[in-house]
């Protein structure tokens, strides 16, 4: 077990290096810094001096991978790849195009992102699992059928519709909560209710149907029949046996996203004007602020890898049959 974790931890930097190479290729090889400068400076009649100045300001005037002019170790470190990509391993993300420090920005924006993502995640998991269990309790009946139809219909609706429709109905027609914005402290809850609610509703369709399939498969197994035969009520069988064992496959999909909750939700944050990492990313994409996009790609991959390791560990915790070696 210990050896397994060590091996996985050693594998992680290798994957991150791959991610870095990929983003490096996308951002610096497919398009040279000159192309980017011309894009950013806009005008077609931009002078070579302006491009040169833009590159020097951002440190893009170095060679890509190997600096022949420098000597010793500097020939590898005094390059764009080292400066812009490898430094991220030390969480040194550099500055955004507007001159702000990306790492500071990420730290301050993490709070609002978590404030919306964590309640959505927990509430969403609770609601979908309960809904799926309800359907399984009434399996084969008309209610079950209607529930599945509802799930398919709900997962066919665009996520944008939930957000736009919810904002219109709750904020504009009923005037219950503000349409968008964010406040500090307890005031924030006023702004968070609607995005959390919509996030939960938008997720019900797909997950509940999937969980239902898992629970149904579990409920048909012999040990559940034995449980019923020894006199457990249907509810007890569902909660004590089906739910517990059904959670094992559900964990695969769920644990892996927990670290990524830091990243926030791109769409709902920007719709509801919440100053989290999701809206930061969207703004960076729209402003073509490449350093920020690169930093977010790195953090996202890091969190995903942490999630994968957590998933493996959680398996051993909930299912003693699983041995990692």
């Amino acid at each position: 077990m210990f050896a397994y974790i060590v091996r996985r931890l050693l594998y992680a930097p290798l994957i991150l290096l791959g991610v870095n190479l990929l983003t490096f290729a996308l951002f610096f090889v497919v398009n040279t810094p000159e192309d980017m400068a011309r894009m950013q400076l806009g005008a077609k009649r931009v002078t070579p001096e302006a491009i040169e100045r833009w590159k020097v300001e951002r440190g893009y005037d170095k060679p890509l991978l190997f600096n022949g002019a420098a000597s010793g170790a500097a020939s590898l470190t005094d390059t764009i790849f080292f400066d812009k990509s490898l430094r991220m391993f030390a969480f040194d993300f550099g500055r955004a195009d507007d001159g702000r420090d990306i790492a500071t920005e990420i730290r301050t924006r993490m709070g609002p992102s978590l404030a919306i993502a964590v309640p959505t995640f927990i509430l969403g998991l609770f609601v979908t699992v309960s809904f799926a269990l309800l359907l399984v309790f009434f399996r084969g009946s008309y209610l079950d059928f209607q529930g599945v139809v509802l799930c398919v219909a709900m997962m066919s609706i665009s996520g944008l519709f939930y957000i736009i429709g919810g904002q219109w109905l709750v904020s504009k027609v009923w005037h219950l909560v503000p349409i968008s914005g964010y406040g500090g402290g307890l005031d924030a809850s006023r702004f968070l209710v609607l995005p959390v609610l919509i996030g939960v509703i938008a997720g019900i369709g797909g997950s509940a149907r999937w969980y239902r399939t898992i629970f149904l498969e579990e409920a048909g197994k012999d040990y559940v029949r034995t449980a019923r035969a020894k006199g457990l009520s249907e509810l007890q069988a569902l909660f004590r046996h089906v739910l517990k064992n059904g959670m094992i496959p559900i964990l695969t999909g769920v644990v892996v996203v927990i670290p990524s909750l830091f990243m926030g939700s791109l769409i709902s944050e920007s719709f509801f004007g919440i100053p989290g990492l999701g809206s930061y990313t969207i703004d960076a994409i729209n402003a073509q602020d490449f350093p920020v996009v690169r930093a977010m790609v790195f953090i996202g991959s890091l969190l995903y890898i942490v999630g994968l390791i957590l998933t493996d560990l959680s398996y051993t915790l909930v299912d003693p049959r699983v041995r990692l070696d």
Binding site: D35, I157, S158, G159, L160, T281
Partner: protein, 472 residues
């Protein structure tokens, strides 16, 4: 008509896909298990109903994929050799030609569905020189009405009635043809065939098809008749007919939904089989590649790639002759980029399945007989993976259509000049804040997208149930 045909990349691929489906269908006819699986799809009422809807969308999308460039009328003083002028830089499609009135009747700005006047008051100068704040009449919508206040409701109702009558007539004709076909194939009289179909005993679920077609006609008939005089779904900010925009969006959705999986399918299949069958360092390498791609959050990888592609397209304007070609290149690139993030799932699935197949007796027997690896893979492994590929193709469709809308909203989707559900929603989202609200273009986009995605989801379920023995 004398036009110059244009073959955009996505057109070629879309029609190529159709040809592949035709070829696969022809081959599937000879294989008994395939026939049985497809018969199970055909016997499922939900499967046939959703297939009907999908085929209707497909017809619209394919019509919109027949592109051409019309010739301009020759300049009066130019030397004309064959009676036509230079070719236009505007690329049109067969759908544009069929829906010519919808395309050309552009109003000034917003107008509500079926309206005869603009949505906002404007200052109008009257004949006697006085000025008045009023809702100006539309140039085209309801232009035939002499006294709109009195005649509007009656005219609309009359047209709806006519549309319903036409729809009923068309449906009866179609149902007659279908039942006649069933009667001829089973060699029973027409009446008996009709009863069999209606009781759901027509072999395939023809009743579901007829009911679905009936519902579609009930909607399409009145819309078609009304569209001759009104803007059925209103007009958008620059006065374009929303119904026309919605019809144009269908092609974009189909292209994204199908080509994305298709263009990356070879990569996923080849790498998945290689990783599973060859094992060793090949397996390690392929697993490493897809873990790297998987670990980057999808939207960010797409965003990074799209931003870079945009720079490439912007810095090489000489590659594209017309705006449509540039938009098309961007659409295809978006498919490739979306595919880049989605092939890993299928690849992993195929790898796992190949690992299982490799240990089966008949594969081991083939290996013992000295059959070459390539032949084992092509003859014994690949055919047994095709059901997974098919299921992935249909299952991914709906997710991709929904993803396009979100990506276009974020600004990393299709070219702003390409009409798609995403660009429609993106353009319409500020309109909800207006007072009174402009809701129709948003509603139309969501409604059509919902019907398309729902049909795709239901069809995918039917296909999975029929092809995956473990699912049911």
């Amino acid at each position: 008509m004398d036009v110059q045909p244009v073959f955009l990349w996505t057109d070629v691929l879309l029609f190529g896909l159709m040809a592949c489906i035709g070829l696969a269908a022809w081959r599937a006819r000879r294989s008994e298990p395939m026939r049985a699986a497809w018969r199970r799809v055909g016997e499922s009422a939900v499967g046939m109903a959703s297939l009907t809807i999908l085929l209707l969308f497909l017809v619209v999308g394919l019509l919109d994929s027949l592109h051409y460039r019309p010739y301009l009328p020759p300049a009066p003083d130019a030397q004309v050799t064959n009676g036509r002028g230079p070719v236009s830089t505007e690329v049109r499609s067969a759908l544009d030609a069929l829906a010519e009135p919808l395309r050309t009747r552009v109003e000034k700005t917003y107008s509500a569905p079926l309206a005869y006047a603009l949505f906002a008051k404007q200052t109008i100068e009257k004949a006697d020189g006085t000025q008045q704040r009023a809702f100006p009449r539309l140039k085209f919508g309801g232009a035939g009405l002499q006294y709109p206040e009195e005649d509007h409701a009656g005219d609309v109702l009359g047209r709806i009635g006519l549309g319903l009558a036409l729809a009923a007539g068309a449906w009866c004709l179609l149902a007659g043809c279908l039942v006649q076909g069933v009667a001829m194939s089973r060699m029973v009289p027409f009446g008996a065939a009709w009863r069999a179909v209606w009781r759901g005993k027509g072999g395939l679920a023809w009743r579901a098809v007829l009911v679905t077609l009936g519902l579609v006609f009930l909607f399409a008939g009145p819309v078609a008749v009304l569209a001759g005089e009104y803007h059925v779904f209103g007009t958008d900010k620059v006065g374009q007919d929303v119904l026309f925009l919605t019809l144009k969006s269908i092609r974009t959705a189909l292209v994204i939904g199908t080509l994305t999986t298709l263009v990356t399918l070879p990569v996923a299949v080849v790498l998945g089989i290689m990783a599973g069958y060859l094992g060793g360092w090949v397996d390690d390498l392929i697993q490493y590649v897809y873990t790297v791609l998987n670990s980057i959050p999808g939207v960010l990888l797409i965003a990074a790639a799209v931003l870079m592609m945009q720079v490439v397209i912007d810095t090489h304007p000489q590659w594209f002759e017309t705006a449509a070609e540039r938009a098309d290149a961007r659409l295809l690139a978006l498919c490739l980029i979306l595919g880049m993030t989605s092939w890993t799932g299928l690849c992993r699935l195929l790898r796992g399945e190949t690992l299982k197949l490799r240990e089966l007796e008949y594969v081991q027997a083939a290996r013992a007989f000295g059959v070459s690896t390539a032949r084992i893979l092509g003859r014994h492994v690949l055919p047994n993976l095709m059901h997974l590929v098919l299921i992935a193709l249909v299952m991914d469709f709906s997710g991709l259509v929904l993803a396009e809308a979100v990506l276009s909203y974020v600004g990393i989707g299709v070219d702003p000049g390409t009409v798609s559900f995403g660009t429609m929603i993106n353009a319409a989202r500020m309109e909800l804040a207006r007072e009174p609200m402009v809701w129709w273009s948003l509603m139309a986009a969501f409604l059509f997208m919902f019907v398309l995605v729902l049909a795709a989801n239901l069809f995918a379920d039917a296909v999975r149930d029929a092809f995956d023995p473990r699912a049911s």
